[in-house]
Subunit: 466 residues, 2 copies
Amino acid sequence: MVNFTIQDVLIAAGDDYATVDVQVVDSKIAAIAPNLQVIGTAIDGKNKLLLPGFFNAHTHSSEMWQRGIMSMFPLELWLAELYDFAPLDPEEIYLSALGTAVETLLSGGTSVVDHLVLIPGLELETIAIATRAYREVGIRAFIAPLIQDESLTAGMPSGESAQTHEPYFRSTAATLEIIEEAVKQFHRPDEGINILVAPTGIQLCTDALFQGCTELSDRYNLCRHSHLLETKAQEKLAQEKYGCTAVEHLKRIGFLSNKTSLAHCVWLNDADIAILAETQSTVVHNPLSNLRLGSGIAPILKYRQAGVNVTFGCDGASSNDSQDLLEAIKIGSILHNVTDSDYQHWITPRQAVEMASLGGANGLNIADKLGSLTVGKQADLVLYDLTNLSLLPRTDPIGLLVLGRPSNVVNSAWVNGKQIVTDGKVTTINVDELKQELFNRSQWKTKRKSETVAQIEAHYRTFMGL
Amino acid sequence: MVNFTIQDVLIAAGDDYATVDVQVVDSKIAAIAPNLQVIGTAIDGKNKLLLPGFFNAHTHSSEMWQRGIMSMFPLELWLAELYDFAPLDPEEIYLSALGTAVETLLSGGTSVVDHLVLIPGLELETIAIATRAYREVGIRAFIAPLIQDESLTAGMPSGESAQTHEPYFRSTAATLEIIEEAVKQFHRPDEGINILVAPTGIQLCTDALFQGCTELSDRYNLCRHSHLLETKAQEKLAQEKYGCTAVEHLKRIGFLSNKTSLAHCVWLNDADIAILAETQSTVVHNPLSNLRLGSGIAPILKYRQAGVNVTFGCDGASSNDSQDLLEAIKIGSILHNVTDSDYQHWITPRQAVEMASLGGANGLNIADKLGSLTVGKQADLVLYDLTNLSLLPRTDPIGLLVLGRPSNVVNSAWVNGKQIVTDGKVTTINVDELKQELFNRSQWKTKRKSETVAQIEAHYRTFMGL
């Protein structure tokens, strides 16, 4: 364990900034004050800003393989195309997890929630290799193996038509066994690797799967993660399936809690919002993905007014198509100004930073250990270089960082007190080799033809009234 | 004049890509085909994508001085704060024009339309020094001196209250004389410096100013530029002022034409859209600014369906708060997917590239000379490095560039055949010195108190019903 002291660094203090020293001892923040004694390595913080690491609170790492090429489709058709071309080689899962970690770190994130798509038949191998990638990089990882127990077509409303669906290829019980085994093998919170229970969402999961996940969550003290009401089609489906909203149903079956984080939450009504507040559930806002897929604008200002915890995610790189967390924070803040003419409700840059850090920690039920520059908390820290052209001239550093378009501004990052970014480079893995591998295993191409889209598009257009 | 040949470079060809050589002779594209003879300098285009330079079709360069620090306000209050702290030293105008040019170039733009805020009493000096900055960098500049002849408070609807306004400090005639003098001194299209007539908008300009600008435009063959219906308040004001929409009024007084580009265009109705199409006016979409100021979402898909030419701008860096054109293109494309559930209307990455290049040229009435990779056109070109991590793995290069979050991907840029970016660096000015100057002339600070906002905020809240 290497202790260190960052000297003369800017930190947010009240509504202003202070220049302080920050001591990190035994992987924890030991002291924050001006003119501290240097303990361990001295780090020059001059002309730099120190913030708690952000959380990339929802992504799917292996989507990196299809970024840039997915058709301009809404979620339901986009998913069909995605799965027709999903990577099936564990080595690819490894590389895209590395890439996701690197891009997250270089845009201010020190934690990633990977709602990990599992290779059919190689489920534990997929989890194992993603775990290996995150351990190698040293980013704090929350691996949420994406599970379902209904087939893709069940995820769309039937509308007027009678639809039948193929049964899912694996039983609910077998899926839950895989997750329990993953918990036993890989869930090591003290080492920065966490397994979450993560049914993909009401559109493709039975109550039995949700309830099995809740039981595992209670038994092993695991966080819970799921997609929720990303699209209008899912809102319709919930009514068909349950005769109530998806949120009412999830509350009834006991999935909502203070360790539950829910990606998207675009199509909730006021009563649903009250339920999220009451159950202390967290909304993970993925603004780029919601725009790219045309899902809608999540009512984030309403969530904040109702006291619902909100944080940000990049979502998978096929629906974004990047893993730049600062971009998600910027767009996820300013997007909502067009939804409320009273500017007093708008998210300020400082609020956005708190949502991305403490909000992320809250959503994973670890706000006592992470998410702020507080003595006693774990040292997940990011040091930003304020002399980059994209942050000049000097004005309000947090305003520049959140509202600008910073590039190459992450100078250093530490996870649990270990430095894994130095001078703007991830030092734990060879990023040039990673680039070469990604390059070698891919080729430039244009549109592909998804057979599943061809099968389901007419039905989609019918029930959406297109 | 240095001739050159880019070898083995990817270009868009139909719906696909082709690998070709591109010859540039006497500042024009001379040939595009595989295996051409090398004329002049050979440039390695391997693993790179060549596109026509984009247009940053609406910005205000001196806003760079206040980026990151402006309050979260709607336009009318934001403007009051902006002007209370506007830079008044020509040297600052020079530096922010350099900065705007550099950031535009490094995000794919080779042309900038600078709706330039003039220092009162130093109007021609302001234009002169911005001209000098753009000449030094070598970017193609369209300098649109921002003029008005009514005072700030006249830019808001009076609502129920009786409002009186101070007269503007300079007469309409004196303002028009300044512009005519600027045209004589600085308008040199063949050298890449253009002066535009650019009344700020209907909210602060009399008919006499618009008509004087139109006369200058006709006499000297100048493009016309203005803000148009950025906010709901301006829509109300137009009704108060004219008893009709702003677009109907501008048509009536003859300002709309195929050399007129109009920034924002958020609050237009269907009849207004038909007028823009009929007059061949261009819409400049500034999505980041429209979100940041809560102005609204411009109906861009409707414009496209009506045959209105649309291109992109960053808008000033105080309302964005960056000059990253790729960011504006991305958000300006995907934002509209939430406004139309039929994905067949959504903007594809290739369409976005065409809007940013040919659309920009069309808006400045120079599509015969610029805006596409066409033999005989001027060589305003950008070469993108496709081996950057942010563009890997390899899929569809244009999809990655537009939908991803590329950083450091501009390898080279040429304006009128002259190379001004090489290996990712602007070579015509010393960017390190620029950074140092920007740093030295500024300081980190938090919120400021705008006196003008204090005076007008209550009235704003009243007429907006807040």
